[in-house]
C-alpha cells in the first residue's frame, strides 16, 4: 500500500489532529522512517494546493481543514440557531445577576448541583458575565459579575432596575 495514501487515510479518518509521532506509531508495522513520513506529508500538502482543503500543522499535530476562503459557504451548513437557553445557563445567569460578585462554588451551593465549566464559558463568550476578582479563600476562585453588555441586552440601566425577588423585597423593607 502506498505510504502517502495510508497517511492520507489516517489523517482523514482521525477525529483529532495526528502528531508525527502518533503517525509513526500507527505505521510501526510498516517500518516507516521519520524522513519518509515528512516527505509524504509535504507531498500531501502539495497535492491539496489547489483544492478546498489544506493540510495544516496545528498545536497537536497534522490535520486537514476546509480553507478559510470557503467559510461563507460552510457557515450556511450551520445556520445560527437562536435556541432556548438551557436551564442550567438561565439559572446560573440569574444567580450571578442577583448575587454578584459570586464564585462558582457559591452558585453551585445555591443550585445544589455542580456547574459545567462550559456554562460559565458560554456566559463569558456571550459577554454577559466577567471575572471581577478572586476571592481570598483557598483556591482563589474567580468572582463572577454581570457586564454592561448584560444590562444592555436586558434593557436595563443599572442592576437596581432588576425586578426585586422576594428575599430582596424583605431586605429592602427592613432598611
Amino acid at each position: 500500500m502506498h505510504l502517502k495514501l495510508l497517511v492520507e487515510a489516517l489523517l482523514f479518518a482521525s477525529p483529532e489532529p495526528l502528531a508525527s509521532r502518533q503517525l509513526l506509531a500507527l505505521l510501526k508495522d510498516e517500518g516507516v522512517k521519520r524522513a519518509e513520513l515528512e516527505a509524504v506529508l509535504a507531498e500531501l500538502q502539495a497535492d491539496y494546493q489547489d483544492r478546498a482543503l489544506e493540510l495544516v500543522h496545528v498545536a497537536s499535530g497534522w490535520r486537514f481543514q476546509v480553507r478559510r476562503e470557503f467559510s461563507t459557504w460552510v457557515n450556511r451548513l450551520f445556520p445560527e440557531k437562536i435556541g432556548r437557553p438551557s436551564r442550567a445557563l438561565l439559572e446560573t445567569l440569574a444567580i450571578i445577576a442577583y448575587r454578584q460578585p459570586i464564585t462558582r462554588g457559591e452558585i453551585e451551593a445555591i443550585r445544589g448541583v455542580s456547574i459545567n465549566s462550559s456554562i460559565v464559558n458560554t456566559l463569558k463568550e456571550l459577554g454577559w458575565i466577567r471575572i471581577v476578582g478572586h476571592k481570598e479563600v483557598p483556591g482563589r476562585p474567580e468572582l463572577l459579575a454581570t457586564t454592561e453588555r448584560f444590562l444592555n441586552d436586558f434593557n436595563l440601566n443599572s442592576l437596581r432596575q432588576l425586578p426585586p425577588i422576594a428575599a430582596d423585597e424583605e431586605q429592602s423593607a427592613g432598611q
Partner: protein
C-alpha cells in the same frame, strides 16, 4: 484391541471417560446458547451435518438426534430455553403422525413435515442474509465517513432568547428557596449594595489602591454614601478588600485583598 485414546493426560492415554468427569452444567448451557441461535439453528446444523436437503428431511433421524441432544441436556440437569423443548414436542408429534395410517379420505392432508421445512428454509435464508449484511462495507468498521473541520473566522455566539421575566423567575425560584433553607441571612444587602461592590472591585482592578473618599460620588448624596459604605463593609467582611489607615484619624486607603 484397545480402544483408541480419547485424550492424553500428563502423557498417559485415557481410553474411557472417567466416571466422575464433571462438566459444569453452565458450560454446556453456554455452549448451546452461544453456538446455536435457537432450536431451528440446531436443527439446521443436524440436517446440514448429514448433507440433507431441508425439503427431504428424514424426520425420524433428525428427531432422534435432536431428542438425544435434548435428553443429554436434561440428564445433566441443564435448564434449556423453553423453545428447545417446544421444538422437541413438535418433532415428536410429527413423527407420531407420520407413523399413523392416513385415512383414505384425507390423503390430501398436508405432510406435517412441510410446515417445519418451510420454517427451516425461511430461517436459513435469514441466517444467510445476516452473514451477507455482516460482510457489507460498514461505516466505522470498513469505511470511514470523513468530516473535516472548517477553518472559520470567529463568529460571535448567537444570543439565546431569554427575557428579563424568565431571569427574575429563575432567581426567585432558586434564591428565595435557597435562603429559606439557609441557616442565617448574612446581611441585609440590596442590589444597589451589590452593584456598588462590583464597582469597587472593578475600580481596584484598574487602580490597585483607592482612597476611601474617592469611592463616594457627592452627587449621590447621603444615600449614595450609605450604599458605598455598606458595600465596602461587605467587601471587607468577605475578605475581598482591605482597608488601611496609616495613622490615627488619617486617610483610609482601600486595596484589593489579593495584592
Amino acid at each position: 484391541m484397545n480402544a483408541p485414546p480419547i485424550a492424553k493426560v500428563y502423557g498417559a492415554s485415557v481410553v474411557a471417560l472417567p466416571e466422575n468427569l464433571y462438566i459444569p452444567p453452565d458450560a454446556l448451557t453456554v455452549f448451546l446458547e452461544e453456538t446455536f441461535e435457537g432450536p431451528l439453528d440446531l436443527l439446521l446444523y443436524l440436517i446440514k451435518r448429514r448433507n440433507l436437503d431441508i425439503m427431504a428431511i428424514s424426520v425420524s433421524k433428525v428427531t432422534e438426534q435432536y431428542l438425544a441432544y435434548i435428553a443429554l441436556m436434561e440428564t445433566l440437569k441443564i435448564e434449556l430455553a423453553a423453545e428447545y423443548l417446544v421444538m422437541a414436542a413438535t418433532l415428536a408429534e410429527i413423527k407420531s403422525r407420520l407413523l399413523l395410517p392416513q385415512p383414505e379420505a384425507e390423503v390430501q392432508e398436508e405432510d406435517p413435515r412441510a410446515e417445519l421445512a418451510r420454517r427451516l428454509k425461511e430461517y436459513e435464508q435469514f441466517k444467510q442474509a445476516a452473514l451477507l449484511l455482516d460482510q457489507m462495507p460498514r461505516a466505522g468498521r470498513d469505511i470511514f465517513p470523513v468530516v473535516v473541520e472548517p477553518d472559520l473566522p470567529f463568529r460571535p455566539l448567537p444570543r439565546p432568547k431569554l427575557s428579563l421575566a424568565e431571569l427574575t423567575a429563575a432567581a426567585r425560584r432558586l434564591l428565595v428557596q435557597a435562603e429559606r433553607f439557609a441557616i442565617h441571612i448574612v446581611a441585609r444587602e440590596t442590589l444597589s449594595v451589590r452593584e456598588r461592590m462590583v464597582d469597587i472591585l472593578d475600580r481596584l482592578r484598574r487602580k490597585p489602591q483607592l482612597s476611601f473618599t474617592s469611592l463616594f460620588d457627592p452627587a449621590e448624596g447621603r444615600a449614595g454614601a450609605v450604599v458605598t459604605f455598606l458595600a465596602l463593609l461587605e467587601l471587607c467582611r468577605q475578605g475581598l478588600v482591605e482597608v488601611h489607615q496609616r495613622e490615627p484619624l488619617g486617610f483610609l486607603e482601600v486595596q484589593s485583598a489579593c495584592t
